[in-house]
Symmetry: C2
DNA sequence: AGACACGATTTCGTATACGATGCACGACCA
DNA sequence: TGGTCGTGCATCGTATACGAAATCGTGTCT
């Protein structure tokens, strides 16, 4: 009944493979390991003070999730997301996240809605600021608040994963296009109204989806057209 | 410039980890390893004439994909899909497959449509038969024909994966409910008509989604209600 | 008879070792 | 001088080995 290792908070409870997985993944998500970064087994093993075996397993897992690419006898590197893949991923997100939000809408507490509105106000306040990263983070949080209560865990997982796959690139959406942020905030308002009015699920879903599609096309036209 | 191992067709080109992955996965998909089957490292290693290391990596990969579950210091087993997970997965499929079908509909060749109609006729002809497995396979093929040309590979991948995750259970949909198969065939016809008439993508999507939802609710009510 | 404790066995987790592969650099030849 | 071939190093791929955890069976005590 005694805790296995009192000194180590809870990390020791995980296998080294899992530790490696979590750590590498954290580095990727945080951006410390940018796209294309080479994941050399021995280096990682040294950094984490373990042998290469758990590292290899972690990398396998990350490969299966699409966060890293892998080439036989060459090695792994953090996945690059080119414009095409970006579009594909965003299309997937527009579909799955909207469905998740619709499913969640009936499970949102008044508290959730209040939180969402508050986040959106903070977004509105910060639209002019030169802190794109923070705004993008807020935007993510806004949407996560709305789809979080989705009772289908599988759907939630897909949404999360897809965002993670985009890596650092996911921050280019909200702020990349000059006038877009303000429009987004307005669309957020409308979405909240719909949910609060208990609009049909299809309408909620459609609202989220078109919100995403709008943002994506705005982004694409501004980068490609310019 | 010489082929590495003339005797071995092409399997030798893959790493043992990959061989193990493919093989185990094949067993699971084919049903040889049913839900709950214990994947013991040494056994698999012996069967495939390799050490346990590649096996472990393969299992990691399969775990990440959700085909097997894993418990530390206990081992891996083929994932069980209970009724709840089944519902969740089918809900995901209804969302993603319908989107994929809609996206594919503009890329379908007359040939694809002909093929789909032909498959549906074979389905119609076999509705009464006592070969549920074959019918289910045909049903899968029908839908695959329609979403296959979807230009978004990521979306396709998600659909495929989700079906695979259901494993053997995916065969219980089409034939489990007595009257359902005939209805499905009719809905297939309607779907083909919509596509051929170049109906708006939303209508195509909605048709596929409701088709899936209908099948699911029919299945759930017949199993739970009875 | 039933429950608990303890030991044997199975199986997993990780380290280490060594062969295989790819890549980069430099030498050699035309 | 340019290109090609060979050599060495970095890194990956897999096998083997050993310690650790869990499970199962057995014996004992109540």
């Amino acid at each position: 009944m005694s805790t296995p290792a009192p000194g180590v908070s809870s990390a020791a409870a995980l296998s080294k493979s899992q530790q490696a997985y979590e750590w590498i993944r954290a580095q990727i998500v945080a951006g410390s390991f940018g796209a294309g970064y080479r994941l050399v087994l021995t280096d990682l093993a040294d950094q984490l003070s373990m042998s290469v075996v758990p590292i290899r397993e972690a990398i396998r897992q990350l490969t299966a999730e699409g966060l890293v690419t892998f080439e036989r006898n060459v090695g792994a590197r953090v996945a690059r997301v080119d414009a095409e893949q970006y579009r594909w991923a965003m299309q997937v997100i527009s579909v799955v996240e909207s469905a998740a939000t619709a499913l969640a809408s009936r499970h949102l507490t008044p508290d959730d809605l209040r939180t969402a509105r508050e986040i959106n106000e903070r977004l509105r306040a910060g639209v002019g600021d030169a802190a794109p990263r923070a705004l993008s983070e807020l935007n993510q949080e806004f949407h996560r608040t709305l789809y979080g209560p989705c009772p289908n865990p599988r759907m939630l997982e897909l949404v999360q994963r897809e965002w993670e796959r985009l890596g650092a690139m996911r921050h280019s959406i909200f702020t990349a296009v000059p006038g877009r942020a303000a429009i987004s905030v307005a669309e957020h308002d409308r979405l909240l109204d719909l949910i609060e009015a208990e609009a049909p699920l299809e309408e909620v879903e459609e609202a989220v989806r078109s919100h995403r599609v709008n943002a994506l096309t705005a982004f694409l036209t501004s980068t490609r057209g310019a």
